[in-house]
Amino acid sequence: MSLPPYTPERPRHPYEDMPYTGRKFGQAFHLFCRGCGYGAIGQLLCRVFKEERLDEKKHPFIVGVGCYSIIPLILPGRIWMTLHGRTLPVATGIKLANPDVTPICLAGDGDNLSIGTNHFVHACRRNIGIVLIMLHNNIYGMTGGQAAPTTPHGMNATTAPYGFLETEFDAVSLAISAGATYVARWTTAHPRQFMKSVKKAIKWKGFAFIDMVSQCPTYFGRKNDMAQPVDVFNWIKGNSIPINKAEGLSPEELQGKFIVGEFKESPREELSEKYIELIKRAREKKK
């Protein structure tokens, strides 16, 4: 099976002429809802892959379970779909077995902050060389719009018809306090910055985490009186505050806002490299 190359020309503007590449099945179809942000994210990742001329053997995509699990229809390279929430331990196994491979994990907010939080926190702590892109759409889209740990307080979902009582998770603060060495948050309204961040994360030695906020018009929009996809998009855009502007604001003013930007860049020794040193040490000690 010879594969068609992904889109040859680079679109002039990220939101102008942004086709779903549909590499695997020609340009036949995609399965995302109309207005969903995940298709755009897939396209941005394709462009990073192409612009950086990444080796598909060195950068496999490890994909969890969620709406975005059909992103392999768009993505280039090798895709390994894992069980719900288990992207990071699988990537840990790959990385330790092959230190020259840097897996790119795509996990949803349910994957990463609900069923797999334990793996997330410990991967941050270990500082193992994995890129984690968390696709964050504020809701469980695939299963029908249930409340997620990222659903903002007071918003509606199919399991929160009277408004969500709990407070949402801030994945960025969690990653920083758990010890991730590169932490950023972008939204679908910041495609260029996101691409720049992904390029940086792929070269980063250590655990790189990018929280990517995206719109879910079908469930999140419908349940929260945002009739058009662009309304959800504008809601995200309107609630985004760049990190330098957020510094002077009080916690009340920041309630329910998405602070975007690069939060942390502090290199630390990477685990799989340290392990190779350990092997050398253990063998010397044995002699």
């Binding site: 392999p72 090798r78 990071l88 840990t92 196994g93 077995a97 491979v101 793996h119 253990a282």
Partner: protein, 401 residues
């Protein structure tokens, strides 16, 4: 990073090793170079020894955050190109079931050392209990097959762990080593053979697949998953895909897929996948199953057992033979897949079958199902303890009267 993987380095000779240590050394001898685990009594000596020994042979050890993480990392490393294993006990084994089901579906060769303890719940960590025999087979969601070995001595823990890795490589399904808290802590003599002898016993991880004429397969010709070859009438099991070689499929799904690794939701596809992953084991039962028989040729009553009870049973059968009773012993070295055919043949030879197990009777159901001609099958349960040889002797005596 294959330049950091080294050969097995234990000098040949005789050692006194704990069961858990023997399992670790067997795994290393079999080429295991990745271990992810989580502490749980009574298997703690396995990760402890692994953390010390794996770096010495260039392997990778990691202590994960839980058992789910451990087995997921093992699956990752297995498709990352290393032979990998984990070990656990009781509640940890339950946590691993989800991933074991997935590993069976995508045909990843992994090995799980299950040092069983008493259940249910947290149970008692220091007592032996073969409580997870059925769970190992039927614990996960969906229908799949596992291969399970039941050693009974430290030496067997060494030898059968090598066999377990070979079985995992050959049949590409999760393979389990049933130990228990007493077997794991028995200190016994283990003979380590020379390296060249070990190498003959070990099936290495293959990186390149070849066709019938011996030419390396191209990516387009390679099938990532098992397929039924109608002409030959057998299941064709291809080599395990490796994420760093060209054979890794474009999209390796966790959902139902075709042998070409294309996910879909058609009934036919599900039928083919479920049939293939089950029948590649069931149709090859005779090749996989290992049994041992003692004095069964002229026996009137036979004891069917596996794991530690085999040692008690052997002694009581010898006692019975010394007193002129025609008793025999049939041992299951592999518990799963169940040796249906061999047990059926046994039932035609003997009049009565006794099944001593250290649980309320998990394999006895399978023995009953395999017996055809009305041979009487009697379970002899023992909960969280081993049978006394005298106890089994009395049972044999009673069965013959």
């Amino acid at each position: 990073m294959s330049e950091y993987i080294y050969e097995y380095d234990m000098p040949p000779g005789r050692y006194v090793w704990m069961g858990n240590t023997a399992m670790v050394e067997g795994a290393l001898a079999a080429g295991c170079r990745f271990f992810a685990g989580y502490p749980i009594t009574p298997q703690n000596e396995v990760p402890e020894r692994m953390s010390q020994r794996l770096p010495q042979v260039g392997g990778r050890f990691i202590q994960m955050e839980d058992e789910i993480g451990s087995i997921s990392a093992v699956v990752g490393a297995a498709l990352g190109g290393l032979k990998a294993m984990t070990s656990t006990s009781g509640p940890g084994f339950s946590l691993m079931q989800e991933t074991m089901s997935w590993a069976a579906a995508i045909e990843v060769p992994i090995v799980v050392g299950e040092v069983q303890r008493t259940g249910p719940g947290a149970g008692i960590v220091s007592l032996p209990h073969h409580s997870d025999i059925i769970q190992a087979h039927y614990g996960g969601n969906g229908e799949y097959q596992v291969i399970a070995f039941a050693p009974a001595t430290s030496q067997e823990l060494f030898d059968l762990t090598i066999e377990a890795f070979n079985a995992a490589e050959t049949w590409r399904t999760p393979t389990i080593i049933f130990s228990d808290s007493w077997l794991g802590h028995i200190h016994e003599e283990v003979k380590v053979p020379p390296l060249d002898e070990l190498k003959k016993r070990v099936i290495p991880r293959k990186k390149v697949a070849y066709d019938a004429e011996g030419k390396p397969l191209k990516r387009q010709q390679y099938l990532p998953f098992t397929m039924y070859d109608k002409k030959a009438g057998e299941y064709k099991i291809s080599i395990t895909p490796n994420i760093t070689t060209e054979y890794f499929p474009e999209w390796l799904p966790a959902v139902t897929h075709t042998p070409q690794s294309i996910p879909n939701e058609f009934q036919e596809s599900s039928e083919i996948m479920v049939t293939n992953i089950n029948n590649k084991i069931l149709a090859n039962e005779e090749k996989i199953v290992k049994i041992d028989e003692y004095f069964t040729d002229d026996a009137d009553v036979a004891l069917v057992c596996y794991g530690l009870p085999y040692r008690t049973a052997l002694r009581s059968v010898k006692m019975a033979r010394a007193d002129g009773m025609k008793a025999g012993l049939f041992r299951l070295i592999t518990v799963w897949p169940f040796a249906k055919k061999a047990v059926r043949e046994l039932s035609q030879k003997v009049k009565k079958i006794l099944v001593p197990e250290i649980n309320i009777g998990q394999i006895v159901i399978w023995v009953e199902a395999a017996v055809e001609d009305g041979t009487e099958v009697k379970p002899i349960p023992a909960i969280s303890r081993l049978h006394e040889p005298k106890e089994l002797y009395n049972e044999i005596k009673e069965a013959l009267n």
